[in-house]
């Protein structure tokens, strides 16, 4: 077994064992932290699909995270107040059912990514970074100035949405649910990366001209990857909103985009488990350093600077060696 695979298994087991241990010793706070790690890891896995596999440096993924969150918030708030979402041309009611909400969060995330991607992928490099950042900010300002769903104050959801057969308000059950979703997403991305599409996308990242010469259109490959990436990040936004039972414009903020990117980088760009490792590291650091100093972002910044300047490849790169399987 390769060292990276071994490491991945260890990470997955660790993420499972810690909350179980916390459950046995009745420490729900730890379970909530682990749930947060898992959900943010899903957001990172979404970005990693665009960034790691497609080489698309998107600094606007908070847009999809927030869209997923608001998809949940809007549906649940209508169900909560028993008012239909719309009556004409057809009646749409709100819902408190997680599977429906997840589906809609992923679809709206994908749609947002399709539109943003179709525009921003007309450019490359530094333009792409600035444009995705700007569109993310557009969603942020829109959420602030749109008063129907809480505006600047955000939108509280009083009871967590339901999943058939589970009590989602029980921390360990909600954790298990999110963990299951993460495993499915990881499986999906792993299969995608190994598929013909994944290979073509990887090729387009490394040399777009050559891929074009074989008869593929890089723009389409990128757009599909970006859309799927938005769908996954949207899904994680819905899970995150359900964890907090609260949606607010901060889900759209540029800091959020930056943090999602940090998960990917701390773990290792292009590694399947990079975002999982990165999100774990981030939340652990936030918890430990945040306890020492309220200015813990200084240490985070210094750490990030060191990783970028001296330890490219992230934590997995340090632990498992430089070689990446698909390169």
């Amino acid at each position: 077994m390769r060292r990276e695979t071994l490491l991945n298994v260890a990470v997955l087991l660790g993420l499972l064992v810690v909350p179980l241990w916390a459950w046995a010793s009745d420490a729900p706070f730890i379970i909530t932290l682990a749930t947060k790690v898992v959900i943010l890891a899903i957001a990172g896995i979404g970005l990693n699909l665009a960034l790691g596999l497609g080489g698309l440096v998107s600094l606007g993924h908070a847009a999809f995270f927030g869209v997923g969150g608001y998809a949940m918030g809007i549906l649940a708030s209508h169900a909560q107040s028993y008012t239909p979402l719309m009556e004409w041309p057809l009646l749409i009611e709100g819902t408190k059912s997680m599977p429906v909400i997840w589906l809609l969060a992923a679809v709206t995330g994908a749609l947002a990514a399709l539109v943003i991607g179709a525009l921003s992928l007309r450019t490359t490099g530094v333009y792409f970074i600035m444009i995705t950042l700007a569109f993310g900010q557009m969603f942020y300002y829109f959420a602030i100035s749109w008063p129907a769903y809480g505006g600047e104050d955000g939108l509280p959801i009083y009871v967590r949405n339901g999943f058939p057969g589970l009590d989602t308000l029980d921390p360990i059950q909600y954790f298990a649910l999110c963990f299951g979703v993460m495993c499915l997403v990881l499986l999906f991305v792993a299969r995608l990366a190994a598929s013909a599409f994944g290979l073509a996308l990887s090729g387009a990242r490394q040399n777009a001209e050559r891929v074009q010469a074989v008869g593929l259109v890089p723009y389409r490959l990128y757009l599909v990857a970006f859309t799927l990436s938005g769908a996954i990040t949207g899904l994680s936004g819905a899970l995150y909103a359900d964890l907090n039972r609260f949606v607010s414009p901060t889900m759209f903020s540029w800091q959020m985009s930056g943090e999602i990117m940090i998960f990917v980088i701390l773990g290792g760009v292009g590694r399947l488990f990079g975002p999982v490792v990165g999100a774990t590291l981030f939340i652990v650091l936030e918890h430990l350093l945040g306890g020492i100093s309220e200015f813990w972002h200084i240490y985070l910044g210094a750490l990030l600077l060191i990783v970028v300047l001296f330890a490219r490849g992230g934590l997995i790169g340090l632990l498992a060696g430089r070689e990446v399987a698909h390169d």
């Binding site: 440096v57 490099g125 100035s145």
Partner: protein
């Protein structure tokens, strides 16, 4: 809606635009010459504002405060360039984004640590407060008018610098061929530090000028930074002319959108709905402008290639 109000809003848009130009000009120069995307440019804006507020509080002089903003931002810029930024020129954009994002975290929290979380206030001096009467009987704040004048003067100075001086020639040469000007004996490392400090000084100066209108607080730079990115996308990377045109377009669209759209919707909707739809759309207007420019000219209005 009166014509006087409209003129006032146009002037406000112009004032916003010239301040955006000061930010965007530095960013676009830095990108054009060094090929670097600098997210920490908003931090330099913040540093300028804090330096000005602290100096004004200590000395009571607004002119000294403005000079302090220039010096502090330029010094911070040069320091960052010498320690961190110069290691990034050969790296890809992803590394540049991350390292400069890390710098934002360090600068923001460092400033919060020194000055605390509460906003500071920078007073407009007596000789710039009050309002002036423009032709046509329009009353307009003297300070905002001064900002427009200063901004336009700096823009003119910057154009002269790029077109006429030795430094300007080196900057233009650096934009077209970095290796060649090094081979011709120009000290590239020094040129890069100089350009970075110049961009930083412009950002810090803008921060100080705006700091007297809004409050001076941590995190004030990033929203302006993102708007400056929109300006650059519209104007085209590396073009000072593009930055000026883009900045004024964005300034006017933002200000007039927020003013006109609610009025426009009020003509066929009830007032409160018009207000909410109008203001939500106005919040998106500059991004829609950006999307429009991207559809027509993906490299911006004045971008090359």
């Amino acid at each position: 809606m009166s014509i006087i109000l409209l003129v006032e809003q146009v002037l406000n848009g112009l004032q916003f635009g010239v301040m955006l130009f000061l930010m965007a000009a530095g960013l676009t120069l830095i990108f054009g010459v060094m090929g670097l995307i600098n997210l920490a440019h908003g931090s330099l804006y913040m540093i300028g504002a804090f330096a000005a507020a602290a100096t004004a509080a200590a000395t009571g002089s607004f002119v000294l405060a403005l000079m302090a903003s220039l010096v502090a931002a330029a010094a911070a810029g040069a320091l960052v360039e010498l320690t961190v930024i110069r290691r990034l020129y050969d790296r890809d954009h992803l590394d540049q984004v991350l390292a400069t994002f890390a710098l934002i975290l360090i600068f923001s929290e460092g400033t919060r640590w020194i000055f605390g979380s509460f906003p500071l206030f920078l007073e407009v001096p007596d000789y710039l407060s009050g309002s002036v009467t423009l032709p046509g009987g329009i009353e307009y704040p003297r300070y905002r008018l001064t900002i427009i004048m200063i901004g336009l003067a700096i823009a003119a100075g910057l154009f002269a610098l790029i077109a006429k001086t030795r430094l300007g020639i080196q900057i233009r040469a650096g934009e077209s061929d970095r290796e060649m000007i090094g081979a011709l004996g120009v000290n590239i490392a020094r040129l890069y530090t100089l350009v970075f400090a110049l961009g930083a000084a412009l950002a810090g100066f803008a921060g100080a000028l705006i700091g007297a209108i809004q409050s001076v607080q941590v995190g004030m730079g990033e929203p302006v930074l993102i708007l400056a990115f929109v300006v650059i996308v519209i104007g085209g990377i590396g073009s000072i002319k593009g930055a000026l045109v883009g900045a004024i377009l964005v300034g006017l669209t933002d200000t007039l959108g927020g003013f006109l759209l609610p009025h426009l919707f009020a003509t066929f909707m009830d007032a409160s709905a018009a207000m909410s739809v109008g203001s939500a759309l106005a919040a998106m207007s500059i991004y829609i402008l950006m999307a429009g420019v991207l559809l027509v000219r993906p490299t911006g209005l004045f971008g090359g290639k």
